[in-house]
Every structure is written in structure tokens, then in C-alpha cells.
């Protein structure tokens, strides 16, 4: 499918709006097992992203995504700032300029995971954003094997992300701030897994609406 730079900009603005909307929700999740700032951090970063990209034009997708990444790195702070920042920085290096197929999305997912793991050294099951992202990327791969349409593949990806997010609830955290709680970290949904789901949801919904 073709995705214009304008559309990608649009998607980032929508992501920003959704994260700003969910500022309190994400912060409450972080209050239960962290330090009550994940929503604040994400909202601060994406507010700045919105400002930065809204009235600006970019050479290409890579340039746009790199701006997003650098803005996140220099405004979010905490654990999520470098993690999301690096994820988008990695995306900026490989994002196609207009034509996207299932392989482009798989490649994007893989470079995101690689960036987050290089920095944070976490595996799936440690109650982090990776518990949303890894299954989401796996769903894309499986959809490809099954030969599903891009639309169906994206839907599967979103579904897997949501399930992954919810599956963090019973987990014992072993990475990030929540790990300090030990057993008490169980029974709560991970804030980073939640913001990752929100981001994936916006992307998928926007891309699908673009297909129609």
C-alpha cells in the first residue's frame, strides 16, 4: 500500500492525541507498580512531538521519524524515553518512503524490538512494553505465513498487541521499576505495555481506514 508522508505525520499526531488523552490512565497504571509518571512522561514527549512536526515539512519519512525519535529522547526521560526514542530512531533508518507491504511492517517491528532489547536487555514475559510488541510482530509474521491480506495481518497484529498487554497483568516484573515490588507487582497491567498497545492501535486503525 502507499502511505504518504502526510499520512504518517497524521498518524503521529493521532498517537500524540491518544497518549495525551490517556495521560491519567497510564499514570495510574504506573502508580500501582512504578512511580506514577508514565502517562506524564509520554504526554510531555508527544506534546512536544506534535509541536515539532505539526507546522514543519520533512524531506522524507526517515527525516520525520528521526525528528520524532530525537524529540522523544530529549523530552520523555525515564525508562520509556530512551526505549521509545531508540525504537523510532531504528525505524527512521529503514522506513520505506511510500510503499509498504507486510515485509516492511515486519521489518519495522523487528528493528523496534532489537532497539528496545539492546538498551533494556529484557525478554518477553518480564512485564514490559515488549510483552505487547513481541506478540504483535509475531502476529505479522504468522499472518504472512498464512498468506493473509495486509488488512487482516494488521488486524491480527493489533489483536495480539492487546492480548499481550492484558497478559502482563498476572506477570511478575523482573525489569524496570516494577521489579522492585517483587510479588506485589503481580495483578497489575504494565503501563509501558499499555502505551505500546495504544500506539499500535492508532497505527493499525489509521492504516486500515486509509485502505478503505
Amino acid at each position: 500500500m502507499k502511505v504518504t508522508s502526510e499520512k504518517i505525520k497524521d498518524i503521529f499526531i493521532k498517537i500524540a492525541d491518544v497518549l495525551i488523552e490517556n495521560k491519567n490512565y497510564l499514570t495510574e497504571l504506573d502508580a500501582a507498580i512504578g512511580d506514577a509518571d508514565h502517562g506524564i512522561n509520554m504526554a510531555r514527549g508527544f506534546k512536544k512531538v506534535k509541536e515539532k512536526i505539526e507546522d514543519d515539512s520533512f524531506k522524507n519519512n526517515s527525516d520525520l521519524v528521526k525528528t520524532v525519535a530525537m524529540t522523544l529522547i530529549s523530552t520523555v526521560g525515564g525508562a520509556s524515553g530512551p526505549l521509545y526514542g531508540t525504537a523510532f530512531l531504528n525505524i527512521s533508518k529503514i522506513i520505506p518512503d511510500s510503499d509498504f507491504d507486510i515485509d516492511s511492517f515486519i521489518k519495522i517491528g523487528e528493528t523496534v524490538i532489537e532497539g528496545i532489547q539492546k538498551l533494556g536487555k529484557a525478554q518477553r514475559g518480564e512485564k514490559t512494553m515488549l510483552d505487547t510488541i513481541i506478540p504483535a510482530v509475531n502476529a505479522l509474521r504468522e499472518s504472512k505465513v498464512k498468506g493473509l491480506s495486509l488488512e487482516r495481518a494488521l488486524e491480527e497484529c493489533k489483536k495480539a498487541a492487546e492480548e499481550g498487554m492484558k497478559a502482563t497483568i498476572p506477570l511478575l516484573a523482573t525489569k524496570g521499576r516494577a521489579s522492585y515490588l517483587g510479588e506485589r507487582s503481580k495483578g497489575h497491567q504494565d503501563p509501558g505495555a499499555t502505551s505500546s498497545y495504544l500506539i499500535i492501535k492508532v497505527i493499525v486503525d489509521e492504516l486500515i481506514s486509509e485502505m478503505e
Partner: protein
């Protein structure tokens, strides 16, 4: 605690930094566009020390910028690690050519942001090293976890590495001194009342009027254990008990003892705790070489305290006693 003496939650850090710099105008300045406090006379001809982390831990970290301790402190948002660009700016400003040591507390966010800044600085040819402080015995240390948090023991790292740097040591030696502190310092904290981040509506945890948290960190996180409120002496026994069973102390060992208020604890209570700490250590045959009782590493208005022991040898004693223009005790 809902009410705060602030103007706007969005501006607490920058307004605070301005107030800090105003208080010592001949010694400190703030970097333009960054919440970074540096020594006015930086860079100096010595290894430079940069520390930092989220805000809300005052006097940490800006309060430790001065002769014999830090050269720069980088302040993130409240309880949020600062970003790499600010840390990088601090490194560039204080580097006097002998290299820069970053003192990082072991939080995923802090470690990642400081490491990114270090990479940026190294890419510009600046010699940079870092140490990661992880003194909190409340958290289990294992290869498969994030490891222990860095808490009040960080102050001793500032002091000792600062003295080593002031004495003209090389970056590797300063780093080694810092690491010696890190392997000999242990802390455990507790809270009677939580704190509330200025931009949040609610405190990070809630306690009943007969409950307390043991094993808290410094970011308003709940502790590792919730129990009924105990007497001060029993609490001290618990905190010191965990510390003393974590690191090997022998009869005749000398220590620096820090009783640290979390922000909302009256000094009266810290001194009552201090009295007990001396009793416990005396019974164990451990000698208190130096005793610090005050607020050193706080968690906004949290009511509670942490106790830190640093096991001393001759070198650490000398560096601990070395002059600094930072006041370390009431």
C-alpha cells in the same frame, strides 16, 4: 498531602533550580535551556563529577555541587530521569580535559539516559566513565533482574569520589574510589506516609493509619513489604538488621552511619532513630566513625527514613574527612 507550595506543576523543576542557584550565586550557575546546575568555576583542572536523576530528591542532586563533591547535577522532571541531551550538555561544560565520571543510580531510566549521554560525549572525544550505585538492600539482587536501586548511599559516592578528584586523581582512580564505596555501602528505607508528585492527583500509594511500608525506594514507589506500624526502635532494628545481614561486618569495623529523612519527617524523629542505631551497632561491636543525620536523599514530602551504612577503611576515612564546602549535617 494535596496542597503544595508551588506555582504550576509544569514549572516546579525550573523554578526550583533558579531558587537553588540564587541561594549560592557566587558558587553555582544554571545552564541556559537545561535544568543543570554547575559550579561557577567549572571546568577545573581535575576529573569532573556529574550526577543527577529525577527531581524531588532535594538536596540531591544540585545540593551536592561544590568544592570536594560534584561539578554538575542534572535534574530531570520529578521522579523522572533526565534526558541524554541535558546530561551531555553538563558533561561538555564541566570537562576540563581530565575526563568526566558519571554517578548514576541503578534505575533502568537513569542508566539508559546516562549511557546514551556518555556515548554522545565519547563520540565527541571526551573521556567519560560511569559508576552505577545500587545500595538498596530491600531489593533482591540477581542476574535476572534490574538489580538493586541506588538510594541515599549515593551521597557517600559523591563525597568520596569528589574528594578523590579534588586530590588530583585520574579518572580511573576516581572511578575506583567510587566503586569501592558502592561495594561497601548499604541502605534500607521505610515510609509512614507516601508522597504525591506535583502533576499527579493522588499519592503513589495509600496506607491506612496503622500501616507502614518497608523497603521503599526514593520515587514514591510502594515498598517491598507492608506491615503494621511499629515503634521507632523496632523499625531501626529491622532496617539495620537487613543491612547487617547483607554485608559482612565484623567486630571492630568502622562505619559511616547515615540516618536520612525522606522529606516530611521531623528531625526529632530522625534523632530518635539515630539513638537506636547507635545502640544496635554498639551491641554488634561496630564503631560509628562518622554520623550523618539530616535530609540527604528525599522523596518529596514522604514521611519516613532510610538508614545507610558505609564500611570504612583508611582510604575511605581520609576521603570522607577531606574538606568540602557542602554542609553534610545539621
Amino acid at each position: 498531602m494535596k496542597k503544595k507550595l508551588i506555582n504550576d506543576p509544569e514549572n516546579v523543576v525550573v523554578e526550583m533550580i533558579e531558587g537553588i542557584v540564587k541561594a549560592k550565586p557566587s558558587k553555582l550557575r544554571k545552564l541556559d535551556n537545561y535544568n543543570v546546575v554547575v559550579r561557577k568555576d567549572a571546568p577545573l583542572d581535575k576529573v569532573a563529577l556529574v550526577s543527577g536523576g529525577g527531581s524531588g530528591h532535594e538536596p540531591a542532586h544540585a545540593g551536592y555541587v561544590g568544592e570536594g563533591m560534584l561539578d554538575a547535577a542534572v535534574a530531570g522532571d520529578v521522579f523522572t530521569s533526565p534526558t541524554p541531551d541535558a546530561i551531555f550538555e553538563a558533561i561538555k561544560t564541566v570537562n576540563g580535559g581530565k575526563g568526566v565520571l558519571l554517578i548514576v543510580k541503578n534505575y533502568t531510566g537513569d542508566v539508559m539516559n546516562f549511557e546514551m549521554a556518555e556515548d554522545m560525549a565519547v563520540a565527541e572525544g571526551i573521556e567519560v566513565a560511569h559508576v552505577v550505585v545500587n545500595d538498596d538492600v530491600a531489593v533482591e539482587d540477581s542476574l535476572y533482574t534490574t538489580g538493586r536501586r541506588g538510594v541515599a548511599g549515593t551521597i557517600f559516592v559523591h563525597k568520596i569520589a569528589g574528594a578523590k578528584a579534588a586530590a588530583g586523581a585520574e579518572l580511573s582512580e576516581v572511578k575506583k574510589a567510587a566503586e569501592k564505596v558502592i561495594s561497601n555501602v548499604r541502605t534500607k528505607g521505610m515510609a509512614l506516609y507516601p508522597c504525591r508528585v506535583p502533576s499527579a492527583e493522588e499519592p503513589t500509594f495509600k496506607l491506612e493509619e496503622d500501616e507502614m511500608e518497608l523497603g521503599i525506594g526514593i520515587h514514591g514507589e510502594p515498598g517491598t513489604q507492608r506491615t503494621k506500624v511499629k515503634k521507632a526502635d523496632e523499625i531501626v532494628d529491622d532496617l539495620l538488621g537487613s543491612i547487617l545481614s547483607d554485608i559482612n561486618f565484623e567486630n571492630g569495623d568502622e562505619v559511616a552511619l547515615m540516618v536520612n529523612g525522606m522529606g516530611g519527617t521531623p528531625l526529632m524523629e530522625l534523632f530518635i532513630a539515630n539513638r537506636r542505631a547507635h545502640q544496635v551497632l554498639e551491641n554488634r561491636g561496630i564503631k560509628v566513625y562518622k554520623n550523618f543525620v539530616d535530609e540527604f536523599m528525599t522523596s518529596l514530602e514522604m514521611a519516613g527514613m532510610s538508614i545507610t551504612l558505609l564500611k570504612l577503611d583508611q582510604e575511605l576515612k581520609e576521603l570522607l574527612d577531606a574538606p568540602t564546602d557542602i554542609n553534610l549535617m545539621k
